[in-house]
C-alpha cells in the first residue's frame, strides 16, 4: 500500500471537494447547446431511414421554399467545394501484411447510404423549427438494397457488400501472438475448455447530446468551432487539415463544458465538419444540437464482438495456451479509432493477470450496415476481460476446480513484476493476488454458501462471481503506437504560467468532462509548488489558449497529462531555484524547494514562492545575464509504457425463478490505481464505471432488426439505461502499487469499473444458474433471456 497521507491539505492524496462544482450546481455551466452567437442560424440533418440503399436524386426544392430556410446542402455540394472525407486515425495492418481496407467516408453520403442515420443533407434556417420543417420535405430517392447488421451474417459469401473495395465486408484480418506455439500447446494439453460468446453492442449515451456551433470571421479569416469534444486539438488537426483544408492557425476549436464523454466524444464526427463548412459558406454562425434519438443513430457505438475462445490446460489447472478468434463490427464506415479498438486495445489484454505462456488472437474487422463502432469506456479491454474471465470460470467448472483456486494457480504474483506477457505488453507493477484476497474478504466469499441456502429457502437462485483483471491506460509510447498504426502522437502537454503574485494558471492538453480534472490537476500543482488549490486555475479545451494536446480518453489524462504537468512544475522549480540562488548568493545545488519555500540547505535563508514569482517579473535582483525573466514553463511528455491498473471485482445476484429477473445484491471492487491524487474523485470514477459495466451485463443492448437494419433500441424508451434503483450500495476501495514510470506513480482509473464489472456480474449469474447445468449466458441478462435460459435448461443437478 502507498503511504498517501497528505502533508499539504490540498495536495496529493487529499479528498478535497471539487473546484468545478459550483457552476454546475447553480446552472451556470457553459455547454455547447447553451451558446448563442450574433446572427446565429440553425441546422438539421436529413438522415437515411434505410440501412443500405443507392442514393438517387435529392430534391431540395420544397425545402428551399420553407420560410426562413437559408441552404439545403448535400454530398454533391461538399464534393463541389472539394471537402475531404472523414479520416480514420488508425491504419492497422492485416496478417497478410496488407493495410486495412479504408473506404472513403464522405461527410454527407455520396452514391450510397450505409446505415440508418447516415447523413444525406443538411438544412440551415433562421430558426430551428424552420430547419426541422424543411428537413422533413427534402425528397431523397433511395433504391433500397439488402442490408446486413450482424458480423456473422456479414462474412457469409452471399452477404450484401457495403464497399466494392472490401470484398466479404472485410476491413482487416488481423492477428497477434504466436500461433505455432499455441497450436503446439493445444496439441499436448490434458484439457481444452471452449466458450462462444457475444459482447453486446452498446450506445455510450453521455447525458449531454452532441452539439456544434461554428462561425466564420472574414475580417481575420478566422473560423471557430465549438463542439462537444474530448479532444479539440485533434478535431482541429483532422478537420482543418484533412476535411476542410483550413490552416491550423486560422482555425479555433473550443470544447467548453462537456456533459460526459465515455469515448462517444473522442472522434471527429462528420457533423462537426458539415456545420463548420456551412458556417463558412453562409457567412453566418450555424448551430446544430443533436436530439437523443438522432444520437442513437449517429453517435459511434461500442463493443459488438462475436468470439470463440479456447484455453488449453494441464491436469492441475495450469493455463498452457489461449486461442481467441473474434469478429468485430466496424459499422458502416471507419470511425476515428474504430479499427484500433478490437485489435491493439483487445489482444494485448488477453493475458489478464495470468501467466498463460502462449496466446494467439485473430480478429476480423467487419463492415456492416450499422452505426460506426468505436471506443466506448474501456474500449477493447472490457471485451478482452469478459472473454478471459468467463473462460476461466468455464475452465474451473469443467475441471471441477474452485474458481478462486484456478485463478490463484495461474495468477502473476507481486514479485514477478515487471512481467512480460506473450501479447506485446510488459506489466510494470501490480498485486492481483492482494486485490483478490482483499475483495474476497470484504465480499465474505467464504460465507456465500449460507447466503445461497437462505435464498433458496426464499425460492430464489443466488450466485456470486468474480472478475480479476488488468487493463492498459495511457496508450504509449508514440513510437510504438505509430508502428501499430496510430496516425498521431500519444504524448500529452502541460504549461504552467506563474503570475507575478504566485498565483498559477495551468494549461492542459487534456480535457475534462466529468472527471474533475480542474481539481485533480490543481492538487498536483499545489503539491509540487506548495500553493493552495484556490490559487490555481486549470485551463483546457480551447485551441487558442492551450498548446497542442491529444485530449482525454483511454484513462490517459492523469497518467500522461498529469506527468507532463509534474514535469512542467519541475521546470518552474528549477528556474525558481536559480533565481533564489542568485538572490541568496548560494550555489544552485545548495538551494532546495520544499513546501513552497526556497531554502539554502542547512540555513535559515529562504525565499517564498511568491517572492521568487514577483522577482521573475520585476527582475531587479535577478541574474538577467544568464536567465530570462518571467516564470512560465511547458512540458510535453511521451510515456515509455502503458500503465496497468487492475483489480478484483465481486458481484452477488439473486434471480427470480418465475420471471428470470436478476437483482444485483452486492458489489465489491478492490482496485490498484497507483498513486491516488483525490480519493473521493477516484471512488466516483469507479462507481460510474461499474454501473456502466453493470448496465452492459444486465440491461443495455443496441439491438438491430436483422431484416430491415433498423435500430430497434433507438431511444431511452427502448434502450435500457441503468437507473438508481438498479444498484445496491457498492463497496469500492483501492489496493495500490506504484506505477514505475509515471512521475507520480499514477496508473489511471477512468475505465476500470467498466472493465471489471461485466464479467463479475455475468459470472455471478452463471453461478446462480449452475445447478441447472447452465455454463454461459450472453449479455444483457434481461429477464426474458434468463427466463428462456432457465426454461431450456436441464433439470436441476447437484448445486455447486
Amino acid at each position: 500500500m502507498l503511504d498517501n497521507l497528505p502533508a499539504n491539505p490540498t495536495g496529493i492524496g487529499a479528498s478535497i471537494l471539487r473546484k468545478e462544482d459550483r457552476r454546475f450546481l447553480t446552472g451556470r455551466g457553459n455547454y455547447v447547446a447553451d451558446l448563442k452567437r450574433p446572427g446565429m442560424t440553425f441546422g438539421v440533418f436529413v438522415r437515411s431511414p434505410h440501412a443500405h440503399a443507392s442514393l438517387g436524386a435529392i430534391d431540395t426544392e420544397a425545402a428551399r421554399v420553407v420560410p426562413g430556410v437559408l441552404a439545403v446542402l448535400t454530398g454533391a455540394d461538399l464534393a463541389a467545394d472539394e471537402v475531404g472525407g472523414i479520416p480514420c486515425g488508425w491504419g492497422i495492418t492485416g496478417r497478410d501484411g496488407q493495410p486495412m481496407k479504408e473506404p472513403a467516408h464522405p461527410a454527407l453520403a455520396l452514391g450510397k447510404v450505409r446505415y440508418v442515420g447516415d447523413a444525406v443533407a443538411f438544412v440551415v434556417a433562421e430558426t430551428a423549427e424552420a430547419a426541422r420543417q424543411a428537413a422533413d420535405v427534402v425528397e431523397v430517392a433511395y433504391d433500397v438494397l439488402p442490408s446486413v447488421v450482424n458480423v456473422l451474417d456479414a462474412v457469409r459469401p452471399d452477404a450484401p457488400v457495403l464497399f466494392d473495395e472490401a470484398p466479404g465486408n472485410l476491413c482487416c484480418d488481423w492477428e497477434m501472438g504466436d500461433r505455432a506455439a499455441v497450436d503446439a500447446a493445444f496439441a499436448g494439453a490434458a484439457h481444452v475448455a471452449r466458450l462462444s460468446l457475444v459482447n453486446n453492442r452498446l450506445v455510450g449515451n453521455p447525458m449531454e447530446p452532441r452539439a456544434a456551433v461554428a462561425e466564420y470571421d472574414p475580417a481575420g479569416d478566422r473560423t471557430t468551432l465549438w463542439t462537444t469534444s474530448q479532444f479539440p486539438h485533434v478535431v482541429r488537426l483532422l478537420m482543418g487539415n484533412f476535411v476542410l483544408k483550413i490552416p491550423q492557425h486560422k482555425l479555433r476549436v473550443v470544447a467548453p463544458d462537456v456533459g460526459g464523454g465515455f469515448g462517444v466524444k473522442q472522434f471527429h464526427y462528420a457533423e462537426e465538419a458539415v456545420v463548420t463548412w456551412a458556417a463558412r459558406r453562409l457567412g453566418r454562425a450555424v448551430k446544430w444540437v443533436c436530439e437523443r434519438s438522432e444520437g442513437f443513430i449517429s453517435d459511434a457505438h461500442g463493443r459488438d464482438h462475436v468470439t470463440e475462445a479456447e484455453m488449453a490446460l494441464d491436469e492441475t489447472g495450469k493455463f498452457l495456451a489461449l486461442r481467441v478468434s473474434t469478429l468485430a463490427n466496424m459499422g458502416g464506415y471507419l470511425s476515428t479509432f474504430g479499427p484500433n479498438i478490437p485489435t491493439n486495445l483487445y489482444a494485448p489484454l488477453l493475458a489478464g493477470v495470468y501467466t498463460t505462456p502462449a496466446i494467439h488472437c485473430e480478429v476480423k474487422c467487419v463492415f456492416t450496415n450499422t452505426v460506426p463502432v468505436d471506443a466506448y469506456r474501456g474500449a477493447g479491454r472490457p471485451e478482452a476481460t469478459f472473454v478471459l474471465e468467463r473462460l476461466v470460470d468455464v475452465c474451473a467448472a469443467e475441471l471441477g476446480m474452485d474458481r478462486i483456486a484456478i485463478r490463484r494457480r495461474n495468477m502473476i504474483t507481486a514479485d514477478a513484476y515487471p512481467y512480460q506477457t506473450p501479447v506485446m505488453v510488459q506489466y510494470d507493477s501490480g498485486d492481483p493476488v492482494g486485490c483478490m484476497d482483499r475483495a474476497l474478504e470484504i465480499a465474505d466469499w467464504a460465507g456465500f454458501p449460507a447466503r445461497r441456502e437462505a435464498a433458496a429457502r426464499r425460492g430464489v437462485y443466488r450466485g456470486i462471481g468474480i472478475s480479476t483483471y488488468i487493463e492498459a491506460c495511457g496508450l504509449a509510447p508514440s513510437r510504438i503506437a505509430i508502428r501499430l498504426g496510430a496516425r498521431g502522437g500519444l504524448y500529452e502537454s502541460a504549461a504552467i504560467r506563474v503570475h507575478p503574485t504566485g498565483h498559477v494558471t495551468a494549461l492542459m492538453g487534456t480535457h475534462s468532462h466529468g472527471q474533475g480534472h480542474e481539481t485533480t490537476f490543481a492538487q498536483i500543482v499545489s503539491e509540487k509548488l506548495g500553493v493552495p488549490v484556490e490559487n490555481v486555475d486549470i485551463v483546457f479545451g480551447d485551441t487558442d489558449r492551450v498548446q497542442f494536446g491529444m485530449g482525454t480518453y483511454g484513462s490517459r489524462s492523469l497518467v500522461v497529462g498529469g506527468t507532463a504537468l509534474s514535469k512542467a512544475a519541475d521546470k518552474i522549480i528549477l528556474k525558481g531555484r536559480k533565481i533564489a540562488a542568485h538572490q541568496m548568493e548560494a550555489a544552485i545545488d545548495d538551494v532546495v524547494f520544499e513546501g513552497g519555500t526556497f531554502r539554502v540547505a542547512g540555513t535559515d535563508r529562504t525565499r517564498s514562492f511568491e517572492e521568487i514569482s514577483l522577482s521573475a517579473y520585476v527582475p531587479a535582483d535577478f541574474p538577467l545575464e544568464i536567465l530570462e525573466p518571467g516564470l512560465e514553463e511547458q512540458a510535453f511528455y511521451d510515456p515509455v509504457n502503458f500503465t496497468y491498473p487492475g483489480g478484483a471485482h465481486i458481484a452477488e445476484v439473486e434471480i427470480d425463478r418465475e420471471t428470470g429477473s436478476v437483482r444485483l445484491v452486492s458489489y465489491v471492487a478492490v482496485d490498484d490505481v497507483g498513486t491516488v491524487i483525490n480519493p473521493m474523485i477516484v471512488a466516483g470514477q469507479l462507481h460510474g464505471g461499474i454501473v456502466q459495466g453493470v448496465g452492459q451485463a444486465l440491461c443495455e443492448n443496441a439491438a438491430y432488426d436483422e431484416g430491415s437494419g433498423q435500430l430497434v433500441a433507438g431511444s431511452f424508451m427502448d434502450y435500457c439505461m441503468p437507473r438508481a434503483d438498479m444498484m445496491p450500495r457498492m463497496h469500492v476501495e483501492t489496493h495500490n502499487t506504484r506505477c514505475s514510470h509515471t512521475d507520480l506513480g499514477t496508473k489511471g482509473c477512468g475505465e476500470m469499473g467498466t472493465i471489471g464489472s461485466p464479467a463479475a456480474v455475468t459470472n455471478a449469474i452463471v453461478n446462480a444458474l449452475s445447478g441447472l447445468g447452465i455454463t454461459h449466458v450472453d449479455m444483457p441478462a434481461s429477464p426474458n433471456r434468463i427466463w428462456r435460459v432457465m426454461q431450456t435448461a436441464q433439470l436441476p443437478q447437484a448445486a455447486e
Binding site: L17, R18, E20, D21, R22, R23, F24, L25, T26, G27, R28, G29, Y31, A33, D34, K36, E129, N205, P206, M207, E208, P209, D257, V258, G259, G260, F262, V289, E291, R292, S293, H513, G514, Q515, G516, M680, I681, A683, G684, H687, G688, G689, I690, V691, Q692, S715, F716, M717, M721, P722, R723, A724, D725, M727, R729, M730, G753
Partner: protein, 161 residues
C-alpha cells in the same frame, strides 16, 4: 401567445409560439440555460424544474400551460433559502461528490429538493425509487443517493428545533 408567469421570483411577460415547450421557453426565450435537454422522450429528467412547487419535466409541458404559474429553475434555487450561497441540497451534492459532468445535475437537484420537501429522513431505497425519473451516466448514482439523504436532512435541520 402572450404569457405572464413568475420565474425565479421575477414576473416575466413574454410572447412565444403556442407549441413552445416550457424547457425551450426557459432556455431560448429567457436564457436560463441551466435547465438541460438530455432526451426527446421525457425519460432523462435533465429538464426538471418546479412549477407551483412541484417537480415537472419541463420538456413535457407547454410554456402556455405554465401561464400564471410560479416556476423555479436551478438558477433561482439558492435564492429561495434567503442567501446568495448554495441551497442545502446544492451544498449536499457538492459535499458528497454527487455530480461529475454536471449535465444531469440541475434536474437531479430540482427533483431532490421537491422530494426532500416531503421526506425529511428517507432511506437509501426510498431515494433510489424517488430518482427513477432521472438518468445520470457518470456517478453510478451512489453519491447522488448520499447527497439527497444529506440534503434532505439539511433542509429539515432548522425545522426540528
Amino acid at each position: 401567445m402572450d404569457l405572464m408567469l413568475e420565474v425565479n421570483g421575477q414576473t416575466v411577460r413574454a410572447s412565444a409560439p403556442d407549441e413552445t415547450l416550457l424547457v425551450d421557453f426557459l432556455r431560448d426565450t429567457l436564457g436560463l440555460t441551466g435547465t438541460h435537454v438530455g432526451c426527446d422522450t421525457s425519460q432523462c429528467g435533465a429538464c426538471v424544474v418546479h412549477v407551483d412547487g412541484r417537480a415537472v419535466k419541463s420538456c413535457t409541458m407547454l410554456a402556455a400551460s405554465a401561464d400564471g404559474s410560479r416556476v423555479l429553475t436551478i438558477e433561482g434555487l439558492a435564492a429561495t433559502t434567503g442567501g446568495n450561497d448554495l441551497h442545502p441540497m446544492q451544498r449536499a451534492f457538492h459535499e458528497n461528490h454527487g455530480l461529475q459532468c454536471g449535465f444531469c445535475t440541475p434536474g437531479m437537484v430540482m427533483t431532490a429538493v421537491a422530494y426532500a420537501a416531503d421526506h425529511a429522513a428517507p432511506d437509501e431505497a426510498d431515494v433510489r425509487a424517488a430518482l427513477e425519473g432521472n438518468l445520470c451516466r457518470c456517478t453510478g448514482y451512489q453519491n447522488i443517493v448520499a447527497s439527497v439523504i444529506a440534503g434532505a436532512a439539511a433542509m429539515h435541520a432548522g425545522k426540528e428545533a
